[in-house]
Symmetry: C2
Subunit: 448 residues, 2 copies
């Protein structure tokens, strides 16, 4: 059995829902359907989730909510009518209207309750739609499904014991339609997942029911070897390992949020990314190992927004606990570093710029100087990280050589090279304004 998740754009209107129907009916193994809230129908459109956030904000500000309620209900009404449905709509209407009568008053709780109703209502509608089209389906609320989470509004974490309950869903004789994006606390409260939204729910259900495959339908044909906006006719990736996917999404690949894959990864369930608008395309499969191991490098990713802090001190290397002291300071400042490459007597801290305000940076410099008695400290902004990714690099000589040659030919200066023992990736730090050129040069070197 397969768990099949559809993103917001795949469920935006009646036309899209018909595509979803035929995808579900094309494979009887598709027994668990995870749904998002209706997404944008066109570029100017507003997602239902964003409408619900507006509704929540108006409610919290004790403003009139009648207009925004009507707008939300109208989205469902339109879909319901276009598909000749009737049962779910009254329930949806009541659910949306009743939100404002909640007993909750704190913002996080109110937000989670309102936000999650986009998925919840759509699941009711889609279950009715499937049943009406000869595919008996049942709407299952996360409470009933057993998606039990820790009580952290906006940042829910699945509880280990949840998987045993979810496993019982295997015995359903109908298609289960489950709203994505949220779970239920021990006290029965709604808590949303922080990142990856409905993708997390799909991953949890797939792990729970021990699915043979977790299908993730979105609006792209595949994950590409590099940013397709940058590289015309960029190669699609047919197979990826979880680790490769993770390394790519670290540096700018945003098709699927990597945290969403953890449950699937731990349960060793393969994941496939497919396109609702082109279901015939093979998509990209993500699993623990891949068969196409003849290809050394599978992708090139770039991400900007890094800052480097260079620290040097004669004989630093001999000082026991030097790195420890640095990390202690970073911890005090609540900063997360990404890399810390070291020379003999120097260490460079590479971290995401967004964590540092100008004041915080100045304080940090003073503190580091104070604690470590450095000979030199230098900050550099506007750095991009480029990752060359591929499990095949492990046993291949010359990848670093090809990559550095390509970058040197294009006069790209390397602030940092970082290749650890894993050899699943090589990372380069470069100047932000050379990022696009670097990605192009590396794509040329490995894919043309």
């Amino acid at each position: 059995m397969k768990v099949t998740k559809f993103g917001g754009s795949s469920l935006a209107d009646a036309k899209q829902l018909k595509k979803v129907l035929s995808i579900i009916q094309a494979d009887p193994e598709r027994r668990f359907i995870i749904v998002s809230a209706p997404g944008k129908r066109n570029k100017e459109d507003i997602k239902v989730t964003d409408l619900l956030i507006e509704y929540a904000e108006k409610f919290l500000a004790s403003q009139d909510t009648s207009m925004i309620e009507a707008t939300i209900i109208e989205r469902y009404t339109e879909i319901s009518e276009a598909l000749n449905l009737s049962t779910a709509l009254p329930e949806i209407r009541a659910y949306i209207s009743n939100l404002k009568h909640t007993k909750h008053t704190t913002k996080p709780r109110v937000m989670d309750l309102f936000k999650s109703s986009g998925e919840n209502c759509h699941a009711m509608l889609i279950a009715e739609f499937l049943s009406s089209q000869g595919s008996p389906a049942v709407y299952i609320h996360p409470k009933e499904a057993g998606i039990l989470v820790e009580d952290m509004p906006g940042d829910a974490l699945i509880k280990k014991e949840a998987y045993d309950t979810i496993r019982q869903l295997r015995h359903l004789d109908k298609i289960a339609v489950i709203p994505g994006f949220f779970g239920i606390t021990d006290e029965g409260e709604i808590c949303t997942f922080s990142r990856g939204g409905s993708d997390v729910t799909g991953s949890i259900i797939a792990a729970g029911v021990k699915a043979s495959l977790y299908e993730n339908f979105t609006d792209v044909d595949a994950i590409y070897a590099a940013n397709p906006n940058l590289i015309p006719n960029c190669q699609a990736i047919t197979e990826l390992t979880f680790r490769e996917m993770r390394e790519l999404s670290y540096s700018g690949f945003s098709v699927l949020h990597d945290e969403a894959l953890i449950p699937a990864f731990h349960a060793n369930i393969p994941v496939v990314i497919k396109n609702t608008n082109n279901p015939e395309a093979p998509g990209t499969k993500i699993s623990s190992t891949r068969s196409h191991s003849n290809q050394t490098v599978i992708g090139i990713a770039g991400d900007s927004g890094f800052t480097s802090i260079y620290l040097s001190k004669y004989l630093m290397n001999r000082e026991l606990g030097f790195g420890f002291k640095i990390l202690k300071v970073l911890k005090q400042f609540n900063l997360q570093y990404d890399h810390m490459p070291s020379g003999i007597d120097d260490i460079t801290i590479i971290l995401r710029k967004e964590q540092l305000t100008e004041e915080l940076e100045a304080e940090l410099i003073v503190k580091l100087q104070e604690e470590l008695a450095l000979d030199e400290i230098k900050v550099k902004h506007d750095i991009s990280m480029i990752a060359i990714v591929g499990e095949g690099m492990r046993n291949s000589i010359g990848v670093a050589s090809r990559a550095t040659a390509a970058l040197a030919t294009h006069k790209i200066n390397l602030e940092m090279i970082n290749q650890g023992a894993s050899e699943v990736s090589i990372l380069f730090a470069i100047d932000e304004n050379q990022e696009d050129e670097a990605v192009k040069a590396l794509y040329q070197a490995f894919f043309n």
Copy 2:
């Protein structure tokens, strides 16, 4: 004024002392002579310091010391007679004989007292020799010179306030001959320096008297761009910065111990390495900046004896304080790491093998696994670190590319590449049995 230090082989016998005399007399700026104990006269010979260690061990074991005493005294007698000296010898004889009447009984104290007397006695002899040859010289004991150290036998550390006393030596009207290798505690006890021995004394005196140059005479013409035993006709390095010297000596260059240079480095005193047996050769100059900046890479060094521990965990990168936890474990085990390159979700700890026994390694693995809940942990032994060093790399594109191409051509697999923001060096971790080949390949790439 210059501080001039001579190593043990430069002072091994009368013939060598005559070379030293002409070196000193060739330049009136050579006012501070730092001496080692007499070294080996030929390959089979025994250094006086080693004889003194034997003497100390016999004394500690309450064994008869008459034979070893005689052997030691004989070394000085031989030199004294060959140079027609008479004053110092009776003092030396008494000094050596009296060692066994020390009140000290603990091994570290006894060792330091005995070991240091090789330098001490030789300084007396050499002061007499210089004076007898028309270069008025005076023997100055470290107590008198003001080399005040913390009380750590075998691991003495100079006290900051010592430099003010040492500065007074500038006013001497004779050449000062100072024994290297040891200082004096507040209680008047002898404490030896741990590493670099007499080189440390020379560096301290140079910093104290604010010398224009610290000359270090040894038995090689220069520091070479790579191991000359490996590379026939290897290029000599004429100028080096302190940082380059440090990076080279990290990975196997052992002409001068890098810790010995700290006082000179901090006082910004240039250092020159010269050959007593070929004083005309220009030697290698080490200072804060170098003029020959047209050369990008100045040296290639390799050192074996490293172990790598590879840790991986899906989404490790998102866990705040992950690196901190690792360093905490290393600290608990009292281990010092050299590098810790990181991928997205993996970190490799590179450390010197000698720190780990088999049991300790097994315990460490268990502890890391326990603390970090890793997906994978892998240990690799017999790793060499190769460093390509040069300040010029900072502004030069393509060094990494040339280096990795050379290594790839020779089928050398890279366990790790590490280039930080400093760009004074690029480090490669490779298999130990490919070290020589790697150094040769890189020498070819950058020097031929």
